[in-house]
Amino acid sequence: MTGSNTPRANSMTGKWVKRWPLRPLSTVILLVLAAVAAASSLITQNVIADQERLILREQTAEVAAVVGSAFAGAQSSLQLLGEIARSDQDRPQLFANAARAVTTASTQGWLVTTQSGTSLRVTAAAGNGPVVGQALSSDQGTLARRALSAKGLVSGLVRDGRTLRLAFALGEAAGPGTVVWQESAISPTTPTPTGPTSPWHSLNIAIYLSDHPDPSALVVTTTKDLPLAGVQYPFRVGADTWLIVASSPKSLVGSLGQDMPWIVLGFGAVTAVLMTAVLETLGRRRDYASALVEERTASLQSAIAEREAAQANLSRQENMAAIGQLAATVGHELRNPLAVVMNVLYLMKVGSEAAANDPIHRHLATAEREISAATLIVSDLLDYAAGRGPILAPVEICDLVAEALSVAPPPDGVQVVQRGEPQVVDVDRDQIRQALLNLITNGYDSMPGGGVLTVSTTSVPGSAQITVTDTGMGMDEETRDSIFTPFFTKKTRGIGLGLAVTKRVVEAHGGTIAVQSMPAAGSSFTLTLPVLASMVSAPQ
């Protein structure tokens, strides 16, 4: 299962990385700015909500103050009516007249009750309510007892059959044991809408005759949707605590305030996007500029390096030219003396009357071989310093091999074997002879303890091959890779130009040179030369 999950997760990550167009810094900035915008929006929302609550509370307090002052008026009316009832106990008509004068609604009723023993009875009445002599209901009795003990204005709801009345009662207002009342029928479950001119017409208000929103204590409401979720504002009415609950169905701070969090969020989002775009653009420009600078720097550096290399090459070429000139002069001056000594050795050999087994012949052969080696070094040096293109002419290569072998007779202990059929090849005789001499003397040098040197010529289609094989010490791979490098040598004598010149000569003929060698297993060099002169594009 994990095996199948991992590649999919990887491919999804890869897709995400491929699609995401922003650089990491821009991404971080975008996220931070978006977070700031969201936080600002939330803060604004909270501030607006606080403001809303504050305004609601203020307006609710105003409502409470207005309601409270209206009830304060009721208290002074009851006080006044109490005074009238006290002074005119026997003339309830006077009370009734006075009560009618302060009546503001038809449902209002006024009365005075007097305690007599444990019972209470109506001693004066006016308006719409109980009549004189009527016994009080249990609700009224409870309220009256509370009014007498509180010695101030108390309020309560009085159920009278189907009618619910809101009653205010002021104890002792018409003398000891008396209570002066005002009652008015109310219908609390029927909403009483606030008029459009009211300063609070935008509020939903419910007033309870209690310190908590008890439905049975509801006095008045402007809406049916109770209970209200809003500000609760308790206030005093006489000795009691009433409660106003107010909520605002519409925003109190206006539509702009309502929209402000979204405006802040939108503005913040736009700012975040713009800032990110600007940063991304600047970042990309900087990246582009620095990439450009890097590129230019790199090309400048490579130009400098090229120029340095060219200068080094030039000075090396100048050095080589100087060395070449010197080598040509020295080599040329050495050629004649070497040739003369060679001639003298020849004359000594042919003129010697010593017996064939006389050591003098061995010494002469050694001298001849050494002069030949010296001559070869001079030739290689001259050829390396001022190599010329081959001058081709038909040459029989077996004859050429024999000539080379005769020039460099083998040292003691080395046996020479020549094999192959005669064949004619277009070559530069001097150059190929020099190449062969290099291979032959190298072969001799690799067999200090003696061995067999085999030179064989074979014909392959279009080419002739000359292979020089020795049974000497051989070469490791590292040496084999370096033998054609000029001035590379592992021999105690020689200047390391032989194989470099040989390779150049063979390649100038359009041929190749190959080497096979293993340490302690001898070496084998094979020259392959094209038979036809037309196959060679010799440098002139």
Binding site: R335, N336, A339, N343, L347, L382, A386
Partner: protein
Amino acid sequence: MNGASELNGPAVLVVDDEAGMRDTLVAILEHHGYRVWSAPDGETAFSAVQERAFDVLVMDIQLPGRDGVSVLEEMGRPPPRVILMTAYAAEDRLRAAADAYVFAVLSKPFELRRMLSLVAQASRDKK
């Protein structure tokens, strides 16, 4: 040995300004039965060629005074076979001379065996 072939061997003129080279070449050729004359410079060589008919000329290309090529250019007919010796790498002038007059070119230092075989070949062709 020299004396035995002296009278009837092919006539060879060796021209070289280096005395050592000249003398050893004369000795070697005489050893091989040729009648050998020698000249140290181009002028002498030219006079010798005018005086006597040679079968083969073995001549260094670089000579004091008149050089080998100039001698070749003025040589009368029938010209001898010419083997030119040079210590230099091939030059354009040498190539031109080789094409026009020369039987063979030998680069110094050369193998005596090859020199002898060329001289033998040249004198044989001449007859």
